[in-house]
Symmetry: C2
Subunit: 329 residues, 2 copies
C-alpha cells in the first residue's frame, strides 16, 4: 500500500526535538534534508553542526547522519531517519572557496547559492534585478561539482537559476518550491525553469509551506495532488519529490529572523505582510511528519500508480543522492 512507503523530505527546519524525530519515525521518513544555516557564517554554522552532533548522540536509536545514499539505505534497514545537512544560503563559505570542501567534509550536501537577496554567488528571488551567476559563483559551482555538494536554487531568481543549471556539470536541485503556474509567488518557479531543471537531470522538491500553496493554508489535498500530476507531466516522473519546508514548532521570531537576518533596519515581511507576519498555519492534511501518508493517498486518488508514488515518495531523491553526494571527476 502506498501509505506504507518510506518517504524522503528534502527540506525541513523544525525546532528540533525528540518529539519531532519520533514523528519522523511514525511517518516512515527514510531521510530528511535539514537546514543548518539561513544567515550564519562559517563558525556559526559549525556551532549548528555541533548541536546536531549532540542530537545524533542523544537520539542514536532514531536518527543518523546522512552523508551518502548508503547512509539512507542503512537508516531504512534499521528503522532510523537519515539527517542530511543543507544550507539555505552561501554564508557559511563566506568569501573563501576553500570552505566548500571543508563544508562537505563536515557533512553539508546542499548549498543554496542565494537566500532571497543578492549573494556573492548569484541573485535571490526578492531582488528587483537579476544579473545571474557571478565570477565567484562560477568558480564555486565548479568546486561544488568537484566535491559532491548539490547546488540548490530554491530561493534564487530566474536568470540565476537558469545559468546555474547551465553552468553546473552535475544536476542541481530546487529542494522546496512549487510551479508558479499553479500559485504565483516570488518563491515558486516558472515552467521554463522547471523544464530546464528536469532536462538537465535535476530534482524539484514540492513545497507544503502555505505561502507556496494555491489558497495558502486553505489549499486542499486534491488541489495539491492535481498540481503534482501537472508537474509530473511537465518534468517527468523521475524529477519530482517532496521538500515540505516544514518549520514545525518554531516561534514567529524565527520567520522574522529568516526574512531580516541582520541586513535590514526596516522590517521585511517576505511572503507575509504586516497583518500576517508570523508563520502561516499548515493545511489540516499536512501538519507534521506523520501526515505524508495523507499525500500518498491523495496521489493515488488523482491516478498515480504505486510505482510512481514510490518514485515521488523517496526513490527519486534517493537516486539523486546516490549520484550527487560523492566526489566528482
Amino acid at each position: 500500500m502506498s501509505e506504507d512507503l518510506p518517504v524522503i523530505d528534502c527540506l525541513q527546519y523544525a525546532n528540533w526535538s525528540e518529539k519531532v524525530f519520533r514523528q519522523m519515525r511514525e511517518g516512515r521518513l527514510a531521510a530528511v534534508h535539514v537546514t543548518i544555516c539561513y544567515h550564519e557564517d562559517f563558525k556559526e554554522t559549525v556551532a549548528n553542526i555541533g548541536a546536531w552532533n549532540r542530537r545524533f548522540q542523544a537520539f542514536s536509536d532514531i536518527i543518523v547522519p546522512g552523508r551518502t545514499a548508503a547512509d539512507v539505505d542503512a537508516a531504512m534497514a534499521s528503522d532510523r531517519t537519515a539527517i542530511v545537512f543543507g544550507c539555505q544560503n552561501c554564508s557559511p563559505i563566506e568569501d573563501d572557496i576553500d570552505l566548500v570542501e571543508i563544508c562537505h567534509q563536515l557533512g553539508i550536501r546542499f548549498l543554496q547559492l542565494t537566500y532571497n537577496n543578492q549573494s556573492l554567488l548569484a541573485t535571490g528571488c526578492y531582488e528587483a534585478e537579476d544579473s545571474g551567476v557571478t565570477r565567484m559563483g562560477r568558480q564555486v559551482i565548479r568546486e561544488m561539482n568537484r566535491v559532491g555538494m548539490v547546488v540548490d536554487m530554491s530561493h534564487s531568481a530566474e536568470r540565476s537559476t537558469l545559468e546555474a543549471i547551465e553552468i553546473s556539470e552535475r544536476p542541481i536541485a530546487i529542494t522546496h518550491a512549487n510551479p508558479a503556474s499553479w500559485h504565483k509567488a516570488l518563491r515558486n518557479k516558472s515552467d521554463t525553469v522547471l523544464a530546464a531543471l528536469a532536462e538537465s537531470g535535476g530534482m524539484l522538491g514540492l513545497s507544503l509551506y502555505p505561502h507556496h500553496l494555491k489558497d495558502k493554508s486553505a489549499c486542499t489535498l486534491t488541489s495539491f495532488c492535481e498540481m503534482v500530476a501537472r508537474t509530473v507531466e511537465l518534468m517527468g516522473i523521475d524529477h519530482v519529490g517532496f521538500g515540505s519546508d516544514l518549520c514545525q514548532d518554531q516561534p514567529d521570531s524565527v520567520v522574522e529572523w529568516m526574512r531580516n537576518g541582520t541586513w535590514s533596519r526596516e522590517m521585511d515581511y517576505g511572503e507575509g505582510s504586516a497583518g500576517a507576519a508570523g508563520f502561516p498555519e499548515q493545511p489540516l492534511w499536512f501538519r507534521d511528519n506523520r501526515d505524508f501518508g495523507n499525500i500518498l493517498e491523495g496521489l493515488k486518488g488523482v491516478g498515480f500508480s504505486t510505482g510512481e508514488i514510490e518514485r515521488i515518495a523517496y526513490r527519486n531523491w534517493l537516486d539523486f543522492y546516490r549520484t550527487s553526494f560523492e566526489r566528482g571527476a
Copy 2:
C-alpha cells in the same frame, strides 16, 4: 608657489613604515586616505585598526588619526599628516547593517560598496553583468548617510555607480580612478559617471596607478596634467583631487592577494596579465609622496592658476571631508 602647497591624497596602500610617513611630511601631505581593508571581514579589519593604533603611538610626531576635517586642520597646523581610514570593500560590515555605525565609531570614513566582484551591496567593475544597488545596498547607503561614512564607488560597475549617486542623499566619491575617455580601462570611469558625480556634489580622486594611466608606466607628466585639465572642464574645479593609489614598497604577493583574495581557485591577473603579473613601475615623475610637487608644477604648466591648483591639491578634499564625516540629519 604652488609646489609649496599642502596636499591631500585620497587613496594609498603602502607597506607602512617610518620611511613612508617621513616622505609624507617631505611631500607636505596634510592628509592621506589609507586603505585598511581589501577582503578582510570585521574582525580582521579591527586587527588592521589595532596595527594603526600602534603606529599612531610610535610616530605621534608625524601622523595623527584623521576622523574629522578639524583633525586635518590640526595636523596641518602641527606639521603632521592626518591618516583617514577607508575600506576598498564592504567585507568589514559582513551581512550586518549595525556594523556600519560600529565601523564609523572605529574611525572608518570611506567604504567601497564593491571591490571588483559582486558584493552583497552592488556590482564590481569586473563582473560581466551589473544589476545595480541591491536591497541590502540601499539600506546600507542610507545608514552610511546617517552616520557620516562616504560611499566610494572606485571599483564598482557603471550602473551600480550611477544608482549609488542617485540613492545617496549625501555626495559620494570615486577616490581613485581616471576618465576612461583618456585611458580605457575597466577601472576608469565614463564621462556619464563623472558628470553625474560632479552634478551631485561628489569628488573624483585622480589616480597615479600605471594601469589607470595612458601609456601606463611611460605616461608623461604633461599627458597626465592635460587629462586633469579636461576632467576639470567636464566636472568643474571643485570636484577633482588626488587619489594616487600609491602601493609603495609592497611585494607582488600583495597585488596577487588584492586580485584573488580567497574567492578564486584560478589565478586572476586583474589589470595585469600572466606576463606582467606584479605591481607596475610608477612613472618617474611620481614615485612616492615626495613627488606631488612635480604634479603641481605640471598643472601650472598646462595653465591652472595657483588658486585652482590649491583646490586640486587639498582644498576640495578638505571641504568634502568637512561636510561628509559628521553625522547626518
